[in-house]
Amino acid sequence: MSSEGRKVMIVPCSGIGKPYGTVSREAAYEVTEDLRPRSTQLVALSLLVLGDEEARAAVEAHPTVTIDGCKLACAAKMVHESGGPTAQGFAVLDVYRRHRGFKPVGIAELNEGGQQLAHALAEEITVAVDELISQDEARHHA
């Protein structure tokens, strides 16, 4: 695990019109609440849209992982606009292509396939988070 204070920001898309947006959000919750609660922090996209200083400072100061539900890639674009380089970007559609059996249905509430897809995505994000924390620690100790 990470040293105290080292964090990766997780920015999911705030998609409301398609199941893939819900998958991105569910994966973000799974990472920040269940899998890596101490080393990650969720940043709401709406705050970045409005230019909230605290949210901008968070993505500028920490490695940031974006999760996008569609090709419009709002999360990645907004982090870029906010001055925070995206350390790693995930697209739900790419993950779905690797897990065709997990077809997401439902927006307000995901079906089982959607939950499984979110879990698969969350595990991929966790690997990326651990790598980013390790790199950050290595730089700190160098």
Binding site: I16, A44, L45, S46, V49, I107
Partner: protein, 244 residues
Amino acid sequence: MPDLPQRKVGIVACSGEELAEGTVTRLAALRVLEHVRPAETVTICLPLFLAGGAGDRAFARFYPTIAVDGCDKRCAARATELYSGKPAASVIVSDLVIEHGLGRPEGARRLNASGQQAVGVTADHIVGLVDQLLGGKWSRRTGSFIEPAATAPAADASQAACACASPIPVQKVDVDGRAVPLAGLPLIFEQFQGAGKAPGAEVTKELLEIVRIYNDVPVGTDEEYTAALAREYAAFYRRKGAPR
């Protein structure tokens, strides 16, 4: 001034993922969009005002829009006004919770019972606003009611309408040597042609006034925009012909 087809109300939820109230905004908006007023409402993801194109940014000028926010930061209302157009109405979940004496919503990922109650109260409030907006004559130019008036029913829809995949149609027009994207222009042309308005100076003047509602026409450029609209509408009218 004629309204463009498919009169609907836009709903923009903050969707703030870090707060339970943000989840309430999203679920309440979805309840209205999917179940209660599916044919009369449409939504767009808030970040598209920045990450999207001209068609996305025209959203709140095209549709009278209700901004639904979780907290008094009012990200949805403020960002909508900043990047698209002044919302016709604004809803703040934390205010509704107090007003209705509900318990505090908790659990951004899985709402507690108070959060679920807040979803119902917020959805009901949005529905009231949708009906109010559809029942009045809304000026997209000023963001306010002109006068109460009956309007034609909106088209049928079988599921939530998301504008992410189908933003307001945009047409690029050569204005004095520059390719300028004009939101809503294809629909405006369709409506004018359908109403039998043949190209001419008066019609071009009317076109410019409507184009101005959805687009920024810089001061001092009316002449250039008029020339561009006259040319484009004449070409459009030639292709389509007079209505039968």
